[in-house]
Symmetry: C2
Subunit: 543 residues, 2 copies
C-alpha cells in the first residue's frame, strides 16, 4: 500500500495529546482577566502585541522532502498505515512547547516540520527504520509527548536529506509489575496519566509529577532526566529507573540487572539524559510503590527567601521525609503563583510561602509531618494550615496555561531552571535574576522575575525562575537575548545549565562549559559507537 | 638524582597500611582455637595443608623490567625520592587481598610484582607520568589501599614493556568542607579512618564503612563503587559522590556541578566504577553529615531466611529509615559469623539473626527504631535486645582476619557477592549456594556456604556469601573452579556479577553478559578516547 503523501488534509495517524500551538488541553485554557491585563500594562508596559494565533489551516509548512522511494521503504518497514507526510500529522510534531516554539507557531512564514511521521510498533521495526535511515541519510527525531521546552524535538535535518518524527506512542503497555520487588516495566510511549492508571488498577503508583505530567511520556522522562514535584519523597525520574531498553543503529541494549551494582561504569546513566541522540528508549523498568494510605498537607510563611531556604535545607539534611517541599520567593508569593487558581486575586501575600506534603502509612506520615514542622518552626517559619498546600496541589499542572494567555496579551513569559549547592544558592539566584532583568531592560521592558525551590537534596536545591515582561520588537530575538544572559550567569556562578529541562538545542552551547572539552569528546565517542551515521536527533545535546 | 634501582633491601617509600601477605594489621590476627580446628576437620575434612607463610625475605619477585632511562625520566617527573624499584616497595603492591592473592603470596616460585612504584604528589605530575608512560609504552596500575579482592591491582603488563604501581597516598588532604551544603572534597589517597579523623575534627562524618574501611581509600571507593555497612542510611559510596576530578592521558576532567542535573548523560557514572582503566581519580566531592547525636541498636530473630528477607523488604519499602540493617541466614547465624568475636563459642543459635542500627537526632532515631520494630515484629521477628547489634558493630571489620587463620589451617575461605530484586532473591541464593557446593564437592570437599543481606534497596538487596571448605590439591585452581561456577550461576539466575567488590581481573569474563556486547563496545570507545595508548590498568574491567 502506498503511503499517505498529501501535504495537507486530515491526519492519518493518532495525534499527540497536546494542542499544537499551545500548552495542553484547549478546554483548560483561561483568558487573562481585565484586572491582570491592567496590571501588566501598568507595571511592565504590556500592550496588545501582534501575537494572535493562527488556525491550523492558516499555517504553511515547508513541504515534505521525503523522497517517494524512501517513504515506500519506510512504509514497508512499519506498515503504510503508520507513516504519514500529511501536514495535519507533521504540524503537531513540529516542535516542543518552549515560548520560542509557541511564538514560531504564530508565524505566517513557512514553518519547519518533520518531513514525515512514523509510528513503529516494535523494537524490530525501530531497528529496521534506523537501518534504512542510516543507509538513506535520513535524520530521526524521537517523539514522546512533545513537551520539550529546550528544542529537544526540533525537526533539524543536520546534513541529511530529510527528517522523520519517530513517535513512540504505540509503545503503550505495562509490560510487567513485580509486586514483591516494587518494579514495573512500562513502554516508552506511556504518558504520565496512563502510567498511573495502569499501575493504579493494581493498587500501585509511580508518583512522578512534573508539570508536563499530563502529556509527557515514560521514554521522554528518561531521555531528559525529568524531575517531578514529589522528588523529595520519590526521587527524580532517573533515581526511579532500574533498567532501560534502548534501540540504537548499532544494536539494542538491555541495561540494569540489579538494584545496585559495582560492575563498572553505570551505562544506564549514559542513556538517561541521552535525549534521543544515542538511541531510542523503548521500555523503562521503574521503582514503583503502593498507593499511599494517607496524605498530610502543610504550609508555612517565612519572612524572606534566605530564611525559608535555610529551613528547607534543615529539613532535607535532617531527613525528616516530606514527599513534597517547595518554597516560593517574595515575588512569586506576592502574586500567588504557587496557587495558580488564585493569581490575580486582590490579596497580596507577604513573605515567602512554603508548602509541604507527606504521603505514606498513616502513622509514619503524621510523624514525618510533625518532625518536619518542628524543624520549620525552629528555622523561623509560621504555620499557615493546610489550605495553601491543597490549593497548590489543585493547580499544580496549570501554570503553563497562563503563558499562552500572557503571550496572547502581548507579554513575554518563560521559565528556566538550574541547581547548585545550598551555600551557593543566594549567589546564583541573585545573578540569574539580575541577568534576566538587565537583558530585558536593554530590550526596552521592565520584567518580573520570580523564583522557587521545588527540588531539594541534602547538598543543594533547584532554582526555578518564571519571567514575565512586555514583548518588544521581535519577541523571539528578545527572549533569545534574555535566555543567553541567564545561561551565561548560571555558568559563571556555579549552577548547572539545567536541573530538569534537559539540554536539547537551546542549552547545547553551554554543555562544554558544564562537562569540559574532554567530556564532550567522550560523548562524541559514545555517539560514534552507537550511531555511526549520526542520524539520531542531530543538533541536540552534544556540541 | 638517580632513582633507587636495587632489587632488594629496605623500602624507599612509605608503605601501604596493610600487611603484604595477609589482611590488615598483624597485631589483630588471631589463630584458630583447637575447638574450631577440630570442627573444621570433622565437618569439612580440613587438615594441615601446605599453606605456611613465607617471610618477606623469602619471597622471590620477578626482577624489575623498568629500563634505566625510563626510570630516570619518571624520577625526573615526580622527584627521585618518590620512585622505587626496590623489592620491599614492590612486594606490598604486588596484588590485592583476595584468597587467590593470599595463596599466591605463599608461593616459593618467583612472584609477579610491579616493576616500579611511583608516588606522584600533584595532578600535574600524574599527567606528566601518563604522558611519559604512553610514549614509552609502560602500563600504569593506580594503587590506593590495596584491598581489592577481584585482582583490581594485579601488575599486568598487557602489551607493554613494564608496569608501574602509581600509589595515590600523597593525595591525602581534606581540600574543602562546606558546612552549609554538607559537602567535603577529599584527596583520593585519604584512607577511611583518616577521612573520619579529618572530618571528625570539625564535627562531621562521611559514614562509609565497608569491611575494607581501615585500609581502603577515597579514590578506591569511587573507582570500585564501594558500598558500606551503613548503606541503608547513607547510601552506597557512589550515591555520596557529587563530584570527581580525574586525570587521564587525554586531559583532566572535573565532573559534577550541582546536586542534580539534567545536562545530558551523567559522566560521573562513567568514572565511578572505572577501576583505574579510564583515568586516575585524584579528588572526590562527597556528601557528608554532622556526627549523629544518638545511636539506637536492635537485634531480631527470624524463623528462617525467607521470613527475615520479607521483613527487611517491608522495612525498606515502607522507608522507616534504619542506618544499618542486616540479616544472616541460618548457616551464618549458627556459627555466629555476624559477631566475629563469638565465633567458636559453644552456643549454636537457631533461626536467622538480623541487626539494626539507627543514627541521627535523638527523637528522630527513637521514632525510626520504633517504626522499624513494628514492621519487623509484624513480619514475624522476635526482638533480642541490643546486644547482638553492639557485638556486630564491635567486630564489624574483623572477619577478614579469620580467613588468614583458616588458610593457615589448610581451609579454603573466600567471599563473593551479588544483588537482585526481592522477588528473585531466594532463586539466586539457592542457585549460587548449590553451584559453590557442587563445584567444591567435585574438588573433593564438603563446604559450608553462608550468606547474609547487608545492603537493602526498595526494589532488592545484596547477597554476600562466605564459603569455607578444605583445601584439596592446587588450592588456586580449586577455588577458581568454585568461583567460576558461582559466577555462572549468578549470571544464569539474574544477579549482577558484583554488588560492591567491582570487576577487576576476576569478574571481567562475565562483564559482557552483564552489559551486552554493545555495552562493551561503548566502554572500549570511551577507553580509546581517554587512554588511546591503552596504558591504564590493562587486563581489568573491560573485556
Amino acid at each position: 500500500m502506498a503511503p499517505e503523501t498529501t501535504q495537507t488534509g486530515r491526519a492519518a495517524l493518532p495525534l499527540p495529546p497536546m494542542k499544537w500551538d499551545a500548552w495542553g488541553d484547549p478546554e483548560l485554557a483561561k483568558p487573562l482577566s481585565d484586572d491582570i491585563k491592567g496590571l501588566l500594562a501598568a507595571a511592565l508596559g504590556v500592550s496588545g502585541g501582534d501575537g494572535e494565533r493562527l488556525t491550523a489551516d492558516q499555517v504553511v509548512l515547508t513541504p515534505s522532502r521525503l523522497a517517494k522511494e524512501d517513504a515506500e521503504a519506510l512504509a514497508a518497514a512499519v506498515g503504510a498505515e503508520w507513516l504519514s507526510t500529511a501536514d495535519a500529522d507533521r504540524l503537531p510534531r513540529a516542535g516542543g512547547k518552549s515560548t520560542p516554539d509557541l511564538l514560531r507557531r504564530r508565524s505566517r512564514d513557512a514553518q519547519d516540520a518533520p518531513d514525515a511521521v512514523l509510528l513503529p510498533g516494535t523494537e524490530e521495526e525501530i531497528a529496521a527504520v534506523l537501518a534504512l535511515c542510516a543507509e538513506r541519510r535520513i535524520a530521526v527525531v524521537p517523539f514522546g509527548g512533545g513537551t520539550s521546552v529546550v528544542g529537544g524535538v526540533d525537526p533539524e535535518r543536520g546534513p541529511f536529506t530529510a527528517v522523520l518524527s519517530l513517535d513512540l506512542r504505540r509503545f503503550d503497555r505495562l509490560h510487567e509489575l513485580d509486586e514483591v520487588s516494587g518494579e514495573a516495566v512500562l513502554g516508552a510511549g506511556v504518558t504520565g496519566p496512563r502510567a498511573e492508571e495502569l499501575l493504579g488498577e493494581r493498587g500501585w503508583e509511580l508518583g512522578h509529577f512534573p508539570q508536563s505530567f499530563r502529556y509527557a511520556t515514560i521514554g521522554g522522562f528518561a531521555a531528559t532526566r525529568s524531575s517531578g514535584q514529589d522528588s523529595a519523597g520519590h526521587g527524580r525520574f532517573d533515581d526511579m529507573v532500574s533498567g532501560l531498553r534502548v534501540v540504537t543503529p548499532a544494536g539494542t541494549l538491555d541495561l540494569g540487572r540489579a538494584p545496585a551494582s559495582a560492575a563498572g561504569p553505570d551505562l544506564r546513566e549514559l542513556f538517561l539524559g541521552s535525549e534521543g541522540v544515542l538511541g531510542i528508549i523503548t521500555a523503562v523498568r521503574l521503582r514503583v510503590h503502593r498507593k499511599p494510605e494517607s496524605t498530610v498537607y502543610g504550609a508555612w510563611s517565612f519572612p524572606d527567601f534566605a530564611t525559608g531556604a535555610a529551613a528547607l535545607r534543615a529539613v532535607e539534611q535532617q531527613g525528616t521525609g516530606p514527599t513534597v517541599i517547595r518554597l516560593s520567593d517574595e515575588a512569586e508569593t506576592a502574586i500567588n503563583l504557587a496557587m495558580t487558581d488564585k493569581i490575580g486575586g486582590t490579596t497580596v501575600t507577604g513573605g515567602c510561602l512554603a508548602v509541604t506534603l507527606f504521603e505514606g502509612a498513616a502513622e509514619h506520615t503524621v510523624f514525618r509531618d510533625e518532625a518536619t514542622a518542628a524543624v520549620l518552626a525552629a528555622a523561623g517559619g509560621t504555620p499557615l494550615g493546610p489550605d495553601p498546600a491543597t490549593a497548590w496541589e489543585h493547580g499544580r499542572f496549570n501554570a503553563p496555561y497562563l503563558r499562552d494567555a500572557l503571550l496572547d496579551a502581548g507579554a513575554l513569559c518563560e521559565t528556566l531552571e538550574t541547581a547548585t549547592g545550598w551555600a551557593n544558592l543566594p549567589v546564583l539566584k541573585a545573578a540569574v535574576t539580575e541577568a534576566l532583568q538587565s537583558a530585558l531592560r536593554e530590550s526596552g521592558t521592565e520584567s518580573l522575575v520570580m523564583c522557587h525551590i521545588s527540588h531539594v537534596y541534602p547538598t543543594g536545591a533547584s532554582l526555578y525562575f518564571t519571567v514575565v515582561a512586555a514583548q518588544r520588537g521581535d519577541a523571539l530575538a528578545q527572549w533569545a537575548g534574555a535566555k543567553r544572559a541567564a545561561c551565561d550567569a548560571i555558568m559563571a556562578n556555579g549552577g548547572t545549565i539545567t536541573h530538569h529541562h534537559a539540554v536539547g538545542a537551546d542549552h547545547r552551547p553551554w554543555l562544554e562549559q558544564e562537562i569540559g572539552e574532554l567530556g564532550v569528546r567522550i560523548l562524541r565517542a559514545v555517539k560514534e559507537t552507537v550511531d555511526p551515521a549520526g542520524i539520531l536527533n542531530p543538533g541536540k545535546l552534544i556540541p
